[in-house]
């Protein structure tokens, strides 16, 4: 196989891993609360700006800055749940209400970040080395390997969390049937709060990884989240391995089309292919088919 082809696949996998990392928290919130959190990418951007400010403080070492960023992410998530989502849920909000709230948050976070840190592009201090490894004719950057590694580890942790912990079990129960879960004694409010906290802490990790590829600015997550969502839908929104697979496929498809067909058409082709797959299998590659009793 030509090194250029292998390089194309490797590049695609690295890009796909970024999509997967970004969308995982979004899927987690959706699976537990049925809220499509459009603002997940913007939360990642906001926490990356927080990390940027923390890293600029000489008294705070790098590891502490990263840790504090995760805490900040979790706090932002719990704040959103407490201040917005819980209130409207108590008043019987529809899916439309949630969409509007998330869109509002999306725009507000972008505006606030621009106001505080400015709208210009900022270089972010490297937390992953820029060095590369050469295998045959293929170059693999440490960044790409780290992103792939972090994504796989997080996915494994999520799997174990959902399968092996009481909180994970409660989240799955809430996803299956809210009323039954409540009757079984699941404390929904607490579980929702934890879900939002964990998911937004994951957004912080995604932001810290993505900023190595893009640059720090209020619009940095927009192209990522769009394709990440496409990947999640392609793979199957209710399956973590499916989401991972879908995102990796989007990354690889984009890369192959960009190199072998046209760089100008890579997004168009990738999305056309996704549409075709969804026509054949609307629930995504690994998503569960939903059947309703008549």
């Amino acid at each position: 196989m030509r090194p250029v082809f292998i390089q194309t696949i490797v590049n695609g996998l690295a890009t796909g891993a970024i999509y997967a990392l970004t969308v995982m928290g979004l899927v987690m919130i959706y699976k537990t609360t049925h809220v499509l959190n459009f603002a997940q990418g913007e939360k990642a951007m906001l926490t990356t700006f927080i990390a940027f400010s923390l890293m600029a403080t000489p008294a705070i070492p790098l590891w502490a800055a990263v840790l504090l960023t995760l805490v900040a992410g979790a706090l932002i998530g719990t704040f959103v749940e407490l201040a917005f989502v819980r209130h409207v849920r108590a008043r019987g909000a529809t899916e439309g209400t949630y969409i509007l709230i998330m869109l509002g948050l999306f725009l507000s976070i972008q505006g606030v970040a621009g106001y505080i840190w400015g709208n210009d592009f900022k270089p972010f201090p490297r937390i992953i080395s820029a060095s590369t490894i050469k295998l045959g004719g293929v170059v693999i950057s440490l960044e790409a390997l780290s992103i792939l590694g972090v994504t796989f580890v997080l996915m494994l942790m999520l799997y174990l969390f959902f399968q092996k912990t009481r909180w994970g079990l409660a989240m799955r129960a809430l996803n299956e049937n809210l009323t039954t879960a409540l009757l079984m004694g699941v404390r929904a409010n607490r579980i929702f709060l934890i879900t939002w906290g964990i998911a937004c802490a994951m957004a912080s990790i995604a932001g810290l990884m993505v900023v190595n590829i893009t640059y720090l600015h209020p619009g940095m997550m927009l192209p990522v989240i769009l394709k990440a969502l496409a990947g999640a839908i392609l793979g199957g929104f209710d399956s973590y391995p499916g989401v991972m697979l879908g995102c990796l496929l989007v990354g690889v498809m984009e890369s192959i089309i960009g190199v072998y067909i046209s760089t100008e058409l890579k997004m168009v082709f990738a999305f056309a292919l996704i549409t075709l797959v969804l026509i054949v299998r609307p629930s995504g590659i690994m998503g569960k088919r939903e059947f309703k009793k008549v």
């Binding site: 390089q7 194309t8 690295a14 170059v139 619009g219 760089t263």
Partner: protein
């Protein structure tokens, strides 16, 4: 009976005189101009993901504020109104209609949104609103339209100059083109290909740099595979560093020469790419360097910082806005105290080889609406952008030949 008739005629006469008296100043009045003010408007991207471009409007605003501080123009102060268009064409159209029909502006300055600017051209022509833009889209000023001007070299002219420099000075034989997937990138590419064809050359690769692409790994690979001796970067400071970083990863960076367009000629490109990455890259420029000791640049930085202390003074975007306002103000000065739209347009057309703005040279005429056709060449040395060749241009004849073609 006769007395009543007299009275009626007197009343009719007085009413006619009153109508005439009221209508006379109305006929002489120019929209947006009063005894002591001139209302100038602008549409700018003040919010949303592309709000970095707002520096253009701030640059123009800082210049008008400086002019006002120094007494205004012919005794009139400039009132500058900016409306947010969020870089969305529909909003630009709405913003311009608001500025013209509700605010009643005399003209527009420093419009920067390319697609939005193109969308409002017919309306501005119809309403006879002069607009001095900072856009470089070729179709904005080719063919020339009476009320639409630009202070920057248009992309097509820039593409001609870049390709000529690549072939004649850098002796490039295998040129790959990486272009921003928009009007500007495509214009530069089209012009470069025309020039290359006259030397019997064709691009060895063309790679589109999409705005929504997370990285440019595949583009770097396509370029590497074509084995170029020069890569022409028809893109901005948003794409150039990303592509260079990817090129560095796969060992392409040092294998070829890199020649970038004017919109990449900013320290932001170097900062984003990281230390040492841009070393040796050639960058075209249409203005002096952002940190130039040129008194005109010092004046820009002083006043930009004075009115916008939170903004980065080393801002190429701020400089574009400032330059647009400079040309606008020069037009107002030349138009004289009795300001009319037609007089203003004529005054702008009288500007020939004017070196009073941040741009190198401003020349307009009855059939010319692009003010500047000069490019200077710089190179990155020790992580600084250094000028290696002063401003050069294609002869008007040469440029016209390619443009017509």
């Amino acid at each position: 009976m006769r007395r009543t008739g007299m009275k009626t005629w007197t009343l009719v006469f007085c009413a006619a005189m009153l109508v005439l008296a009221l209508s006379l100043p109305a006929a002489a009045k120019t929209r947006g101009v009063t005894k002591d003010t001139i209302l100038v408007g602008s549409y700018q991207t003040l919010s949303g993901p592309a709000a970095i471009v707002a520096a253009v409007g701030r640059g123009a605003d800082a210049y008008f504020k400086m002019v006002n501080e120094r007494g205004g123009i012919h005794g009139r102060k400039i009132k500058f109104v900016i409306v947010d268009d969020q870089l969305q064409v529909a909003r630009t159209v709405a913003a311009v209609k608001k500025l013209v029909e509700q605010e009643g502006v005399f003209g527009l300055a420093a419009g920067m949104n390319t697609n939005g600017t193109l969308a409002v051209v017919p309306y501005l022509q119809k309403m006879k609103v002069p607009s001095i833009t900072g856009v470089s889209a070729t179709e904005c000023t080719f063919p020339p339209r009476k009320y639409i001007f630009t202070v920057r070299p248009v992309s097509f002219v820039e593409g001609l100059a870049l390709a000529k420099y690549a072939v004649e000075h850098l002796k490039a034989k295998r040129i790959a083109i990486a272009y921003m997937d928009d009007g500007m990138g495509k214009d530069i590419t089209r012009a470069a290909k025309q020039v290359m064809a006259t030397y019997g050359l064709k691009p060895v690769a063309e790679a589109a740099l999409g705005m929504q692409d997370v990285d440019y790994a595949s583009q770097a690979l396509v370029i590497k595979d074509s084995k170029p001796d020069l890569v022409l970067l028809a893109c901005s400071f948003r794409q150039t560093p990303k592509l260079l970083v990817e090129a560095k990863k796969i060992g392409l960076l040092k294998q070829t020469k890199w020649l970038g367009a004017t919109v990449s000629n900013t320290p932001i490109t170097l900062r984003m790419a990281g230390k040492g990455t841009c070393e040796g890259v050639y960058l075209a420029g249409s203005m002096p360097a952002v940190d130039s000791p040129d008194p005109k640049c010092v004046e820009f930085r002083t006043y930009f910082h004075k009115y916008y202390p939170k903004e980065n003074v080393y801002s190429i975007l701020g400089m574009v806005g400032w330059a647009s306002a400079q040309v606008f103000a020069e037009g107002l000065r030349r138009a004289g105290k009795d300001l009319t739209v037609e007089g203003f347009v004529k005054a702008l057309e009288s500007i020939k080889n004017w070196k009073g703005s941040l741009m190198y040279d401003q020349t307009y005429g009855p059939n010319r609406r692009d003010g500047d056709r000069y490019i200077r060449m710089c190179q990155v040395k020790n992580d600084k952008i250094v000028e290696i060749q002063g401003f050069f241009t294609l002869s008007d004849k040469e440029a016209e030949k390619y443009i017509k073609h």
